[in-house]
């Protein structure tokens, strides 16, 4: 087991560096002049000579006149020391720019993931057990609709209904501006604000997981051991949850673990529409403003999360299904 994990970790480090090289080259070949972008506001405010001086200083600081390999080594060296660079848009260190948004993203995604899993797993199992019933058919139709509808459409429709028409929730933001409360009052206010985006995220993710669980359970319920279990007179709940669900879990586990790892990744659409100060929104702002240190840092975070997610998924196979050996 340890040997396997060790091998995978070495592999992950390799992949990390390959991805970092590809991303770095891509970002550094995007058209545009980052140094010019940084000093653009000085135009017309300082003399032409001073502007040129500042521009050259910015180029030197960004190392734009160095060959790409040298720039990469410098950037990676800084990255490994925890220096993610400097945001040319926010004019402060990237680590200061991304700290709060990352926490906000985790917060909202944990809520959405827990709720979505709590709804979709029982619902998928129930639909599989009551296959082709009216309830199952209705859920199939709804999940198809939900699955097909883009997240931003769901968001706009829900804003219109629940915020504008019914006035149940605020339209956007994470808390009441100038909110004076602390403790429970603060938590309730935050829940009030995050409820709508969480509901939208949950609804948007219901379709895929419900159908996935249902399909896995239907496959499991067709197996001979289920018939055997029923023949042995086991209670239906034991048959479903102890025998069928455990075996159906293997294909589902990948999705569940991915979902949990995605709590670190922001939803660009949701965070933009609901004005949530999250990592996805920062990524979008970084890209739109050629703030590549921010965008690269977020990309590298996504890379690390994906690698860890893959490792955990593989390890979890062995735990869920004893037939899978991961010690080789």
């Amino acid at each position: 087991m340890l040997k396997y994990v060790g091998k995978r970790l070495i592999y992950m480090v390799g992949v990390f560096f390959v991805v970092s090289i590809i991303l770095f080259i891509l970002f550094n070949n995007v058209p545009g002049d980052r140094a010019l972008n940084q000093v653009q506001n000085l135009r017309g405010k300082v003399s032409d000579e001073t502007f040129q001086l500042r521009y050259q200083e910015a180029r030197d600081k960004l190392g734009l006149d160095d060959p790409i390999p040298i720039r990469y080594v410098k950037w990676m060296g800084n990255l490994l020391r925890g220096d993610f660079g400097y945001s040319s848009f926010y004019k402060k260190d990237v680590i200061d720019v991304l700290g709060t948004p990352l926490l906000n993203t985790i917060q909202i995604n944990i809520m959405a993931t827990i709720i979505a899993l709590a709804i979709t797993i029982p619902l998928g199992i129930h639909c599989a057990v009551k296959k082709f019933s009216k309830f199952d058919n209705a859920i199939q139709v709804l999940t198809i609709v939900g699955y097909s509808m883009p997240q931003y459409i769901i968001a706009l429709v829900f804003i219109f209904i629940f915020a504008v028409k019914l006035g149940w929730f605020p339209i956007s933001g994470m808390n009441t501006p100038n909110f004076q409360g602390t403790g429970l009052a603060f938590v309730l206010d935050r829940i009030h604000y995050l409820a709508l985006p969480v509901i939208v995220m949950t609804v948007a993710s219901l379709g895929s997981m419900t159908r996935y669980v249902r399909a896995a359970m239907i496959d499991a319920l067709r197996m001979d051991y289920i018939r055997t279990a029923r023949a042995k007179g086991l209670r239906e709940k034991v048959v479903i949850y102890s025998h069928a669900w455990r075996n159906a879990l293997l294909p589902v586990i990948t999705l569940i673990i991915t979902w949990f790892m995605n709590i670190f990744m922001g939803s660009i659409v949701i965070e933009q529409i609901f004005q949530i100060n999250g990592i996805g929104k920062m990524y979008y702002v970084g890209l739109m403003n050629q703030d590549y240190d921010v965008a690269l840092a977020v990309n590298m975070l996504y890379c690390v999360i994906t690698l860890i997610s893959n490792l955990i998924t593989d390890l979890s196979y062995g735990i869920v299904d004893p037939r899978v050996r991961i010690n080789k």
Binding site: L42, G44, I114, I115, A118, Q180, F186, I276
Partner: protein, 638 residues
């Protein structure tokens, strides 16, 4: 029971998420003053009063107003680093007490609440000195005294090299660049600022460089507000008077002041304006500004009526809904036609009011006048004739905009005085014949092989070196831009453009790339045409934009016509202060010349709309002379 369990679970899951979110409070992360309260009051902004009859009894609560901003707030309230319009609005609300302020008509007048004495001296070398004595007893929001060095600090901060070393990039404006010794100080050649003098604790002087005299907007040079020395600089860094001007003490360096400056950026808690910075909530994208008890009033002695102003980012997609639901109280400078219609419907339904005023600026096509076909005036004229600007403005603004024929706005008093003459400017009314006539007059009468133009295909012009230049214009536009999309259909693909023998090639890129090419005045710049927007301020000083050879001359208007434009802009500036009639005359001459040179084609000038809750009273602005941050001072809230 099951329903209760489900409800409990949902709340539980959300609470678990909150706790698991690493305990991020997210409120007032940059709080300057404690705004925590054990009472746990929820200052809810929700609650719709749509369409209800007003029951206002004439008593104002004046508790709070929420100003919705269409650009994102950053928390960096000072204007020297991140330069968002919303941050700047918050900044303007927390800065004040300038010795000179502009009134509701845009005229610069003395501020008697601050000014003890103003002495204007014409010096032998042709320069002019304004000696300002401020009143005793003026205080910042924290109770500390406001002194002359606090005023001078604002000048110094706007052009000191050290601040640029701290990554600041939005520094100088015309308020500083005409002050004697500016170039030497801002370039680091001198550590003293020759045009500034610290005379005593309450007196300072500002001298306009002789080369810029006379200067019509001279008084505006002393319109800078005080910046607290205590806020920006370590205690032992001071301003020192020398015979050559003012300088920082020797211990002043970027490294030494760095920490203090960075703290001031995000915790601007010593304020001089009608409001003071209380906190910035990065999760609500909101500045909380509370009434400054030490603000003595503006030039009319007016202090703020409303206790708290929240400056809140309100994305365009949902801004009207936010107003409708009470999440914001004011939306200003709404320009989108659909949103204006939605707002007007809300006003009709009741519960909301609106203001409408013209934009001091316009969307435009900007040309490079030093290379390619657009270096020739006739080509620029021809293109203007080939674009139906009236229809364009109507379509783009949804009927809420007009066409202007020069760089002016309806709120400018000069435009008001010369309204009749402005109406007589060439409006380049759509005409293929006029476009062809312009091109023929400009020598675009050849085919590629030098034979006489056949009447179809691209026209050519014979250059001085004997070569032929095709009438192909390279246009760079930014992506996701609805003006560009409309220009494609109304201009680039207009059959009359081809019929006139012209071709326009479009290249689309990011806005940053557009700016790179827009500022590139070299003849190697592959593009000659851009579409973007511009605005003008008060003081209306445009001379630097047309200085031949300067990088600020983004149109690169050179030669005789460039010099003429520059001379007229200079003549406008160099009108004696107070001689309004001559200034207006010079202003019109400039506008008239500009209309002929046509370095830009104005496409539309919006009719801005402010929509606000009917609970707000006494709110008047025009967006130019008297903007929303000044109007809020007089406003009252039910």
């Amino acid at each position: 029971m099951k329903k209760k369990l489900i409800s409990l679970f949902l709340v539980g899951a959300m609470t678990a998420g909150m706790v698991a979110g690493c305990g991020n409070s997210g409120n007032g992360s940059n709080a300057a003053a404690g705004n925590d309260s054990a009472s746990g009051d929820v200052a809810s902004t929700e609650g719709v009063e749509e369409g209800t009859e007003s029951t206002f009894d004439g008593t104002y609560s004046n508790k709070q107003v929420i100003l919705g901003e269409s650009s994102e707030t950053s928390g960096d309230i000072t204007p020297f680093w991140v330069n968002g319009a919303s941050d700047y609005d918050a900044y303007k609300l927390v800065t004040g007490m300038a010795p000179i302020e502009n009134d509701q008509t845009g005229k610069w007048i003395e501020n008697p609440t601050v000014l003890e004495n103003l002495e204007v001296t014409d010096n032998d070398d042709g320069s002019r000195t304004y000696t300002v004595t401020i009143k005793d007893g003026l205080k910042f929001s924290d109770g500390s005294d406001i002194n002359a060095d606090d005023y001078l600090l604002n000048y110094m901060l706007r052009c000191d090299e050290m601040i640029v070393d701290l990554e600041a990039s939005n520094l100088t404006d015309s308020t500083v660049q005409y002050v004697a010794g500016y170039n030497e100080f801002s370039n680091g050649e001198s550590d003293t600022f020759a045009g500034l003098h610290l005379i005593d604790e309450k007196t300072y002087s500002v001298t306009i460089d002789a080369q810029y005299m006379p200067y019509y907007y001279g008084s505006a040079l002393i319109s800078l507000e005080p910046q607290s020395m205590d806020l920006w600089l370590p205690e032992d860094v001071t301003l020192e008077e020398t015979e050559n001007g003012v300088k920082f003490s020797d211990n002043f360096s970027a490294e030494y002041i760095g920490d203090k400056v960075q703290a001031a950026r995000y915790n601007y808690n010593i304020c001089s304006g009608p409001y003071m910075f209380t906190s910035y909530d990065e999760n609500a994208y909101t500045y909380t500004l509370t009434k400054n008890p030490n603000f003595p009033g503006n030039f009319e002695g007016q202090t703020a009526n409303i206790e708290t102003v929240l400056v809140k980012y309100t994305p365009q997609d949902t801004m009207m809904d936010q107003l409708k639901t009470g999440a914001v109280d004011i939306l200003y400078q709404v320009a989108d036609g659909d949103q204006i219609e939605q707002g007007l419907d809300m006003v009709e339904e009741g519960g909301f009011d609106y203001l409408s005023y013209g934009r001091a600026g316009y969307g435009m096509i900007s040309f490079k006048c030093n290379q390619g076909p657009t270096q020739f005036k006739e080509v620029r004229h021809a293109m203007a004739y080939l674009l139906d600007r009236v229809s364009f403005a109507q379509t783009f603004t949804g009927g809420h905009g007009i066409v202007v024929n020069g760089p002016y706005g309806s709120q400018q008093w000069m435009a008001e005085e010369y309204a009749e003459e402005i109406d007589g400017l060439n409006s380049y009314t759509y005409s293929l014949d006029s476009a062809i006539a312009e091109l023929e007059a400009g020598g675009w009468v050849y085919n590629e092989d030098g034979s006489e133009y056949s009447g179809s295909g691209i026209r050519y012009k014979k250059l001085d070196d004997g070569t032929y230049m095709p009438l192909i214009i390279e246009w760079f536009s930014s992506d996701n831009n609805s003006v560009s999309d409309l220009l494609v259909t109304t201009l680039q693909q207009n059959p009359d453009v081809a019929a006139a023998g012209m071709q326009i090639n479009q290249t689309v890129g990011t806005f940053t790339d557009l700016l790179t090419y827009y500022y590139d005045n070299s003849e190697e710049n592959p593009y000659q045409m851009f579409n973007l927007a511009t605005g003008f301020g008060n003081p209306y000083d445009v001379a630097y934009m047309y200085e031949p050879g300067s990088s600020n001359n983004t149109n690169a208007v050179l030669g005789e016509e460039g010099q003429q434009l520059y001379d007229l802009a200079i003549a406008m500036n160099q009108t004696e202060e107070g001689d309004d009639a001559t200034y207006a005359e010079n202003w019109y001459k400039f506008i008239e010349c500009w209309n002929d040179v046509l370095p830009e084609i104005p496409l539309y000038s919006n009719d801005y709309h402010d929509f606000y809750t009917s609970k707000l009273h006494d709110f008047e602005e025009d967006g130019y002379n008297w903007d929303v941050t000044k109007a809020i001072l007089y406003a009252n809230m039910e």
